[in-house]
Assembly symmetry: C2
């Protein structure tokens, strides 16, 4: 038994094994961040049961609680842990960051360690391969401490961390100069207030406001909540009137979110997040200088509810929107964790978040009813979002962190497109621009600084690898470039990271179709030519397919193939996109000749062969110099909005200035679509250089 | 077993006995107001245990659940209840309002009923007297239904209700014309939106904003929270785009609080509350026309922690501020309940609340740290409060109701004084005014439309009946007027409501001292004259006392007396007030001759004898025509702020324009105080007309 550190008058049996301090039951339940963070965030709390005899001093504590030392390599960090704790507990105590997205349930298999010395009691898990078990791998959350032990973080985990952190550096180079003046939504202002006297006896809150006014803060527009008022008297006095004030800046009014003792600088992190229907990307940003510290990407786990937004909405209608929100948050929060881990960042230091995503993704994330998006007349519930708090959404950040959601003009042209336009900046320029984002859907924007028109075409997820048997994202091992020898019909391939081929990404698929056409393996109508004699072209029943990589050259021991059905899906996708171009131009009374610049963004990966995209009729046959491929533009726009209030306003302007054209009931669009289902097109005159 | 009304695919054993509908376990736990209010607010939910056999249709339900009819007189309302429910449950179902401030715990003893016929199983309670038990009284929450029964609401409960409702009419007369333009903080705007089409496909939120803009609402300053966005799509569609929007108007930004289907008018109630250290007053107001529907007053239950603000703060430091908040909320919410009951009002229709109280009362109510109020240099945490929501404070109203707290300039001059000034209106006039509020403390304001000075003196609670053996509030049975015959020394008394005397209120105490002095029973130094032979003047040990009413004339069968100690306390109180006047005037370089008007407010009750107050030296000896007694001014100012945005702004101006003078270290104040401890004063020249 000992006295609670926070309530010295109370005796308690609970002891924190990290700090060796006692905490009463109230403190264990307490959510007060001051107590919670200081003594519990990474603490195993140990219960000293009465039957084992009370403890009165530090000396005989050790004799009763059997403890063991766990060493974590390669850094050599240590934790002294009571017997029976898990290695995941020990990692927390030692300050070693392990990725544990399932929160220690043994379900994600990510908290891998390798046992180097000592004994550990492990629960069998199907998440480790025999190969890994032989090498001494274990899951930290499934391993209980029974004696001293030394464990090591596997090299591949460290490599992945380094890569995630390294990607940040690369991206920082790329986004350099985009934001010149950093102006976060949530600012932390250090203040030193003059202590009160009988002559200067204004209230604490008035004193705080006076101090804020001196820093240039518009206190007439400043709100304060009851929680801040309740903690204010202690906060200002704890470090002798030195404080740090967190203020969230909103459209119409600012709010004091928190007043903390001490006026020292805290690390200030931000997140730029792009929620794609298929892929989610997270940038971890240093808000002080705009540096991207780390970047992580992963599959949207909503994919189990369907590939496209319509299926996601149907799923939300059936199972409730909360389920879809939980799914996307799992992916987002996992990626945030990876990014933080890779640079040793702390969740509570994330105070600003910017998110771009299409309208459905935004609704699902925020648990806003999406069902009317898919019903005529296709009405979203919200398109222009107020600044929210991370805690009310469920994003892994300081609960008070300010969250900006990119506005979007319509149900099928959302914040991801606005974000892309913001990045490419053509809404500020004279040049007439045709912008296309080819992600799971195809969204087109036409215009310049004077006007913007936009429309959406159901391109489907083929270019992101969806609906294609061996389709995949542009990750390591994805085939991104292909040439086919016209004699042997054998391909020469290039993969992402030069790794063994695991599948085909968007740019590889475009290459492949162009090459299949040029090599005479498929014809202009998109059908495999019959009667070819090659070990590359085979049949599965009636369905012909092309073998891109033989099984013995793949890590999966399976052929990587491209089938007639894959090709058909691709034709629909490319036809939908091209018909979108021509229909939108016609709506504006224009044609391709009037376009000064064509910007392509989307999930193709780093590389897109414009020439081959024209060959298959995905892109129009215009001057190649007019094309610019800009990769994932949505995440960059999100990064800009994260850092700059100017860009946040500009995003609102872009969204509200766009005129949306609905293709769903447009007869011209259906005609154009049908004509575009050929390679490159039924109208060859539109593709003179291909002919 | 049946199918859940909200989830037809689920079988459930729970049935709502009011609506005879089934609800699944999720629905029972659910806090969704749509489900909750519609099917659960006043429903006993009944569990159909499997062992008793499942139920498949309505017909044989009745045979399994034994139900009984309870009739409530005098209205004859009925409820059919399952055996074992309480009469309190039955009252809820029947729509009969019973006061049950302890929420059915059997602790408050307020839910009294009289059994007229039938049988009821009652748990014995000490809260009913033998006399009541003989008459068939029972507590509704402690009585279980075992058969059909008829019960009656006791006549005195109905009378009290009528009185509370009647007080509202009286007060309405009094406040008539004070507020000409009603402008609540939280407004409910009925809207009919144009349904969306393919041509007009803006989001639901944009459509709502567009509709609001047409009503003149400044949508640029309008915030909206995630909860509203989540419910918006359903809310707008449920009644075919007819909605009612609740908007809270704050200093710097407005917020959409709720969007409900249907554009019909809901009753719109408001509360004006005055939280005195001793007494709390509540007005229930119809926000449509400003009519006071009912008024209730009661003792602040914090009194158990001490009579004055200093003791309350000490108690908060010891036991936590939450305890004091809970106490004051218990009183406030009890009074709100009484006021609502008396006119059959609904809690959820209360959407606006204005509260005035001294600085300590405001801190304790809001659970804001009060400890620095009583420590040099006497700093309150907050003096100017943002508009809060009833739910975050704990006030019994719609949780979203807007709560305005009167601002106050200093630790010892709070919102109650600002509220009083607002009502009396001298801050708008030329006349030089001296304002005194004699409540548990004495606060003085000096000035006119050009400037305002204020100070506080520790008058103590004597004039509200505190610290006086037979002191009491100006309630029924309080002696409020006294004359003493100079020969017999026998008094002639007048009581409030002409009821048998139960104690002495503030105005009675002033009368009494003046009369004791004039009759020669006490001398100018405030001591009882020795050697008097009268059955009215006696001794308790060394201490002389005067018998005001003999035991046989009181309902308590005890003498109502006034002792030497009582007199001493009174002298201190009146000395503190008079010294306050002279010190504050001196600070302003003025004297009483420069005062055009003297306003007295406070807890004396309806009546204050100015002449006698001058006789004892509480008030200065100036032209009687300059005096105005205005009763409880704080509650009226609160009423004005409840209804008018103009007055809410004016209250802020009054508070920020007041110059606070601290008497705690003022040597002149101590001198003046000592001189004022005589009757009427050491300096008789200051009281020529008394001499």
């Amino acid at each position: 038994m000992g006295h609670c550190i926070n309530h010295p008058d109370r005796e308690t049996q609970y002891i924190c094994m990290k700090h060796k301090i006692y905490l009463c039951e109230d403190c264990l339940r307490c959510k007060d961040p001051k107590i919670y963070c200081k003594f519990r965030s990474s603490c195993p709390i140990w219960f000293l049961s009465k039957s084992r005899g009370g403890l009165d001093n530090e000396a005989n504590q050790e004799s009763v609680v059997e403890s063991h030392t766990i060493i974590f390599l390669p850094d050599g960090k240590e934790a002294i842990m009571p017997k029976g704790s898990t290695l995941l507990d020990a990692a927390l105590v030692a300050g070693v960051h392990l990725n544990a997205s399932c929160n220690g349930k043994g379900a994600c298999g990510k908290c891998k360690l390798v046992k180097v010395a000592g004994v550990v009691e492990t629960t069998p898990t199907p998440l480790l391969t025999n190969h890994e078990l032989e090498k001494g791998y274990l899951l930290a959350c499934q391993s209980r401490i029974t004696g001293d032990a030394t464990v090591e973080i596997p090299r591949e985990v460290i490599e992945r961390k380094l890569k995630i952190a390294g990607m940040g550096k690369e991206i920082s180079e790329k986004v350099k100069g985009l934001v010149t003046e950093i102006d976060p939504m949530l600012v932390c202002i250090p203040l030193t207030l003059s202590p009160p006297t009988l002559e200067d006896s204004v209230s604490d809150l008035d004193r705080l406001n006076r101090g804020l006014k001196k820093t240039g803060c518009d206190i007439a527009r400043l709100n304060v909540g009851i929680k801040v008022m309740r903690q204010l008297a202690e906060a200002v006095r704890q470090d002798d009137w030195n404080i740090t004030v967190s203020i969230i800046q909103r459209k119409c009014a600012n709010e004091i979110l928190e007043v903390l003792p001490g006026s020292g600088q805290h690390p200030n992190l931000g997140l730029a997040i792009d929620i794609g229907t298929t892929t989610i990307v997270v940038y971890l940003v240093d808000m002080a200088d705009g540096k991207v510290l780390a970047a992580a990407a992963g599959h949207n786990s909503q994919a189990s509810c369907g590939d496209d937004v319509i299926n996601r909405i149907i799923c939300a209608e059936k199972d409730g929107v909360k389920k879809l929100s939980t799914m996307v948050l799992a992916t987002i929060n996992g990626l945030i964790g990876e990014a933080l881990d890779s640079v040793g960042g702390q969740v509570e230091n994330i105070r600003n978040v910017a998110i771009s995503g299409n309208t459905t993704m935004a609704h699902l994330l925020l648990q806003i009813e999406p069902r009317y998006i898919r019903r005529d007349p296709y009405i979203p519930t919200v398109t222009d979002f107020p600044i929210l708090k991370a805690g009310e959404i469920g994003i892994r950040a300081n609960p008070a962190a300010a969250v900006f959601i990119m506005p979007g003009p319509a149900s099928y042209v959302g914040g991801d497109i606005v974000s892309g336009v913001l990045y490419t900046g053509f809404h500020r320029q004279e040049l007439m621009t045709l912008f296309i984002d080819i992600g799971t859907n195809g969204e087109i924007v036409l215009g310049n600084k004077d006007w913007l028109m936009t429309a959406a075409c159901s391109a489907g997820p083929a270019f992101e690898g969806g609906g294609i048997r061996w389709g995949m994202r542009a990750e390591e091992g994805a085939i991104e470039k292909i040439e086919i020898d016209h004699q042997s019909l054998a391909p020469t391939i290039v993969t992402v990271g030069d790794a063994p081929a695991r599948g085909i990404c968007g740019s590889g698929i475009i290459d492949l179709i162009a090459e299949l056409l040029k090599a005479g393996i498929v014809d202009r109508s998109g059908r495999f030519v019959t009667g070819l004699t090659s070990d590359r072209v085979r049949y599965d029943g009636d369905e012909p397919f092309y073998i891109l990589v033989f099984a013995d050259e793949t890590p999966m021991d399976e052929d990587i193939v491209f089938t007639q059905s894959d090709l058909k899906n691709l034709l629909y996708s490319k036809g939908a996109v091209y018909a979108g171009f021509t229909t939108l131009l016609a709506e504006a009374g224009m044609d391709f000749s009037m376009i000064d610049r064509m910007i392509i963004t989307g999930g193709f990966g780093q590389y897109l062969n414009i020439e081959k995209a024209i060959t298959i009729g995905l892109l129009p046959d215009i001057d190649r110099a007019k094309f610019a491929y800009m990769g994932n533009s949505s995440i960059v726009g999100s990064y800009m909005a994260l850092l700059s209030g100017h860009y946040r306003l500009e995003a609102r302007d872009i969204s509200s200035n766009m005129t949306y054209v609905d293709f769903s009931t447009n007869p011209k669009y259906m005609d154009e679509f049908t004509s575009a289902l050929f390679l490159p097109h039924t109208n060859l005159q539109a593709f003179p250089s291909v002919v």
